[in-house]
Amino acid sequence: MPPLAELIHDVEAQAINVCAMFLLLTSFAIVAQRSLASCVSLYALQSFFLGLTAMVVADASGVHHLYFAAALNFLIKAWLIPRILHRVVERVNVKREVEPLVNIPSSLLICGGLMILALYLSQPIKQIGPLLTNDSLALGLAIVFIGCFIMVSRRKLVTQIVGFLTVENGLFLVATAITYGMPFIVELGVFFDILVAALIFGVLLHRIQDTFESAHPTESTEEQLGSTP
């Protein structure tokens, strides 16, 4: 019978892993999703799990500034940014589908491959991180790679934004996994950057649509917003 402290440690580590697992699952779900609006909702869910992971890690490790990071996560990534994106999706007057360049089953297969790559890459880094969150490192890297894949394999501009945000979520998980998060000032800066980036993306998307509509009033905006610039 292991001592109680060790048992608690085990439970906490497992809780972190479960949360991180859910994060990865939502990334796969985004890849498998056809409707743009659900992509955004899934992103919100993913950010929610990220906040949850940060909270569990904060609790288990006693690194208190992670609570702030978790709160910011819930506020900005799980609520504010998805709200902005939902508006953008409603405004964009196109068939609200993803239009993958690679069909969905193959996409999922490729993401499986990326997962293996992430596991392989994380092996040498693992020993420098704290034991508690060791296993989420590979998951974080996998999410980063999957985010990149979403960006290159989907034609709609909105999905490119979701891909970018997924990459950022993966990064946050990586940072939490190997260092219990970065110094607070840096983390604050990163959050600020992401929020501003999301806003600029939204504005640019509106403008791209406006200029397209005034230049080609008869055509649908389908082709324009569908294609990668």
Partner: protein, 512 residues
Amino acid sequence: MTILMVLLGIPVVAAVLSLLPLPITIIGRLTVFAMLATLVTAGGMVPHVLAQGTLEGLHHFLRVDALSCLMVVLISLTSFLASFYSVGYWESQPREERGSDRKLRGYYALYSLFVASMLLVCITDNLGVLWVALEATTLASAFLVGYYNKEVSLQAAWRYLIICSVGISFALIGVVLAFASAVSAAGFHEDALNWSYLMSMADQLDQTALKLAFGFAVVGFGTKAGLVPMHGWLPDAHSEAPTPVSALLSGVLLKCALYAIIRFSILVNHGIGDHFSGSILMAFGFLSVGVAALYIFGQTHIKRLLGYSSVEHIGIITIGLGFGSPLAVFGALFHMWNHAMTKSLLFFTAGNLSLRYHTMIIEKITGSLRLTTGTGVALLVGGLALSGTPPFSIFISEFLIVSAGIQSDHWVPSLLLIVLLVMIFAALFNQLSPMALGAPPEDVSHHDTSTSSPISSLTAWALVIPALFIILMGWVIPGPLFELLSEGTRIITGDVPVETSPISLLRHVGHE
């Protein structure tokens, strides 16, 4: 030191003031004045840095050594020139091109913020803040790139924003890895993300983690620096942005990203002991120069041509850093300056030509020497300098890099570099000479009175300083700049170029 706060504060205040409902001519001049003040402040730092080695501020948050100082002066000089050019450029543009006054206010505000974020990249000691600031440069300049609100320029802005943001995410993994290895080696420390702290314990850091960190950093920051194959955003952004912004992007933004790579490579070389970073940098450098050489031949748009030429010069600097000997690094740092000045000159020239000819297509711009003598001369001087012709300053720095390569027994890379440089010389000469020589097209009149807004003489005056710089620096490097370059080289390689190297030539000239 408060001087660092002043340096950052001036452009931020200028950004806020730009939004006030003042007449746009005043706001333009205010921005020029603010940039001049920044330049003076940056210049005022130089003697302190040379005397004390480093300046620190805000509890180890800000730190300026010779390398950062070199960047800060370069950034403020280029931003001053580009803001000066901006005023003339916008005044010469017809109203429908220029947009409303409100939009121009936004332009000047973002311009100042862009400069402030670039300065922050170079004066912060914290690698995480460096990352945040570098991402902020992208955010501040995205709307500047898409200023014209046309389909192509908005798409260029989109590409710029998305490629750079995702690329730089990888650099954040590099930063996190460096931080994690510091924490696991010596426990948590307030300053564990500070470059100087990391340097002080570089030999205790986990080697594998450092190597991986460097790999991520090169890919991430390299995206922003425009290294091939991550350069996809660069030609579009450079050609679609308003001309003063193109000059800033090419002249200093790319170098800020390179600066971040340099900081990482110093750390990794210290931690691992051999020149691990050199071969990686050289590979990226050669790829960039080679691909740029091919693309320069086929360009039809003058600003795209200049964009690809930036890829080439960034490649040359990276190769110099990759050679790693003190002489090569000295050449690379000097090349940063020369390229910034030459490229500003050429972008301003291209802007002036487009105001006159109302096109950016190379074929349609002919005989500028006869039509607008000043701009034509600037085009010839800039073009010759850019292609590496003596006696201009770019020739000197390229010569230093190549001879350093041969000295350090990198025979094959050095010869390859020479071949590529000759190719690029031919391509540029082929493209630019008809623009200056030849006969002007008949539909462009000698005295441009047809358009509503006459071309402001400020656009011609903006050419003077960069032109003087590239001509004079081919002969003499002023003492303080020479010392900054040497100190910067010492920070990177741990040594200064020896007296017997080709540099002694410059040194003697410089000390007369």
